[in-house]
């Protein structure tokens, strides 16, 4: 336990310089980009006096290094700052949009894992057969398809041709968010409100965007699971299990599968960044009102503090996910030591 705690602390401390480097890069990149956030905020009509006053108020009149020092001081106080575009703290829109993105990512990840691991294991178990070839081909194809194209195809097939599923947004137009919005996680909110029709509507809206993310990620999991499973299936203990007369299904799905999970979990942690990147495209395709859409919008408006805050948050999320994965190793594989 002590070792885990030490490892956890070291890993946590290591994320600090990583985030520091990242926020420094973002800070300077944003400021050398063309466009003036004050003009974006006040518009072309604003008198020069008001523009100058606002620039002073936001600290944009200072040299860039002084602005950087101010920003670090502000962060040290755990203050992400105020939006330059709207009269609000940057945390307000983030709090508003983060649940939508998390809901999408979590749901997508679950589907990707279930689908990828199951197909990978099934392919390995049927090595060399037509089924295996089909699964390998599937893994390759879905991994190569760009998220926006996958999204468009799913919209076309399931949303338009079959008319089974909604193609955009988080709810239908006639399901009033105002009636249940509480945490921002609509699946949970609708259940808390006991509004089952709204819950099912939210779920229906989640299917296609989550599936888009999931299909792409499942390709990686299929290939990884299959490859690891093939290695594991050649081990002596599998031979021993078979020799003891344990059924093939049990050998594969109980004994072998658990031992393929360590590399899959490593990959899961590493894929979190890819998941976020794909979420940007998925949110755009499905008009999903999440963080990625907020980020794109605020980049266009040169809202420096909001963009910085979102990127820091994403970096923290990626670091934490990787840390959690490391900790889960111990549970999956007792041989792992810290």
């Amino acid at each position: 336990m002590k070792r885990i705690l030490k490892y956890f602390t070291i890993r946590l401390l290591l994320t600090i310089p990583m985030i520091f480097i990242l926020l420094t890069l973002i800070f300077f990149v944003l400021r050398v980009m063309p466009a003036d956030p004050v003009k974006s905020m006040l518009g072309a009509h604003a008198p020069e006096r008001v523009i100058e006053q606002k620039r002073k108020e936001l600290g944009l009149d200072k040299p860039i290094l002084a602005q950087y020092v101010d920003y670090l001081k502000q962060l040290a106080r755990f203050d992400l700052g105020k939006s330059m575009i709207m009269e609000q703290k940057v945390i307000t829109p983030i709090k508003d949009k983060l649940p939508a993105t998390l809901e999408l990512i979590i749901f997508g990840l679950i589907i990707a894992l279930v689908l990828g691991v199951f197909l990978g294991a099934y392919g390995a178990n049927n090595r060399g057969t037509g089924k295996d070839t089909t699964i390998r081909l599937y893994g390759l194809i879905v991994f190569c398809i760009p998220a926006y194209w996958m999204g468009l195809m799913l919209q076309l097939i399931f949303g338009i041709w079959f008319d089974w599923l909604p193609i955009a947004g988080r709810t239908s137009s006639r399901v009033l968010v105002a009636e249940f919005n509480n945490t921002g996680f609509y699946l949970i909110d609708t259940l808390i409100a006991g509004n089952i029709p709204a819950f099912l509507d939210v779920l229906a809206h989640l299917v296609l965007p989550a599936l888009t993310l999931a299909l792409i990620l499942s390709g990686i999991f299929v290939r990884l699971t299959r490859a690891n499973m093939l290695d594991v299936l050649n081990n002596d203990y599998i031979l021993a299990a078979r020799a003891r007369g344990i059924s093939e299904k049990k050998v594969v799905y109980k004994h072998a599968l658990k031992n393929t999970m360590v590399p899959i979990l490593t990959m899961l942690g590493m894929q979190f960044a890819l998941l976020i990147a794909n979420a940007v495209l998925t949110e755009s395709t499905f008009s999903w009102p999440g963080m990625a859409n907020l980020l794109v919008k605020r980049i266009h408006l040169r809202d420096y503090p909001t963009v910085q805050a979102i990127i820091i948050l994403i970096a923290v999320m990626v670091s934490l996910s990787s840390l959690i994965v490391d900790l889960v190793y111990a549970w999956i594989d007792p041989r792992v030591e810290y």
């Binding site: 956030p37 609000q88 589907i111 947004g169 709810t171 006639r174 105002a178 229906a204 266009h300």
Partner: protein, 519 residues
Amino acid sequence: MKYVFRVLFILVLVLMFIAVGCKSKTKSKDMLVYGTTESVTDLDPAEAYDFHTWEILYNVYEGLMTYKPGTAELQKGLAESYSINDKGDKYTFKLKEGIKFTDGTLFTAESVKWSIDRVMRLESDPGWLVTDFVESVDVVDKYKVRFNLKQPCGFFLKLVATVPYYPVNPNVFPADKIVTNPSELKGGKLTGLGAYQMMSFKRDEEILLKANPNYYGKTNIDRIVINYFKDPTTMRLAFEKGELDLVYKQLNPNDIDDLLKKDEYNSYKIPSPFIRFLCFETSESVMKNKKARQAVAAMIDREEICKKVFINQAKPLYSMVPIGMFSHKDYFKTEIGNANIEFANKRLKELGYSKNNPLEFELWYTPSHYGDTEVNMAEVLKNQIEKSELIKVVPKSAEWSTYLDNFDRKNMAAFLLGWYPDYIDPDNYTAAFAGTTGSAGQGIYFSDPQYDKLFMEEKTSVDQEKRKEIFEKIQKLWTEDVPTAPIFQGSLFVFTKENITGVKIGTAMTFYYKELKYK
């Protein structure tokens, strides 16, 4: 492990199938769902400066003056009557009595003064609509308020009909802070003296409006839900699937064309005050010579743009003053012409340009600010202008925030711009681009004392005939100096389900939801 996966897999599948089978079909006549691709900025009459936010505020608040639904005709709103002094620099409004805000606060002259003082104090973007004209506001008595203007103004009543002049509740709004989200207000809801109150607001997703019980007039539909879409085609699909009752702003031209062919929907084509034009940086760039500007303006084939890019859903425009507005004259057609290559080449040769030494300039556009059609429009325009062998065009694009920044840098010799007016008057379509101050703010930097004098005369005159003469003169001069070249005037399209009527959108883009009703 196997068990966990099996349960998860089955659970996900079951939930998906249930979800597939359960699409919401609830419909009732006390609610109307309206879809749009617009977005809301700050929900504060002192700060909002875009047509969609104004449209919502038109319905939540009301002005002393308003527009008669579906027209450009001004009518009294919260004012019972008004009077103007002989000089035209003092406007006194007698207010309707007994009107209350939702919290019971009585609407009086004090509320008007407090609201105007707040706008003047905050100095926000649309604040100039007040501060450029109003010196002070006096409370004459409980129900009488007087606006003292800096100078006489011939269109002040039109200004009073704009959102920054709308009275807000002094007990709800902060005096020295802009409100972005209604949750920041006392009571957490956006309520005013208009027909509806905003019950909830989820940015980029949904707005729920409910009929205001304290409203002095009448509403037909109890709840209006506004749904926000990122993509026009998705919005069209939602409308065709029956999820939306009404769609307005901004469908793609192809989607509009398709919907117009379908009999099951009501369609409304509304002449829009929105105009598009080509601007020139007139102080430092290659376009500082007016003959070069004239040549480029002459090469524009407006009819082809309207046909090719907008499937005839826009009208060619030959003046900065829109079609249908008083004083409008098609001078660009009569003086310069449409796709007039001879005129253009003559001007260019006078400047010494030739095939080997063509006029070369960058044509700037912004790829998303004016919708998906902008790239096509820039491409078509480039091809039209390059039909003259004496011109070479280099297309360049920048996102809106960079575009605004470029105004200051003066690095855009020619650039496409669009204009939704602040108030429906030729002044707003001309002085903003050829007046010395306005022009610099738009990246044009045109300055001519003759124009400034004419603008001052028309602004301060209350004689509409005299103003008409001045604007006709300005339009004629425009073809000589060409600070901008008009291209087209937009049209707005609203589609509703067959059982919905009452869509009345005025020239000032005033869309009053209280007029909507089910058959």
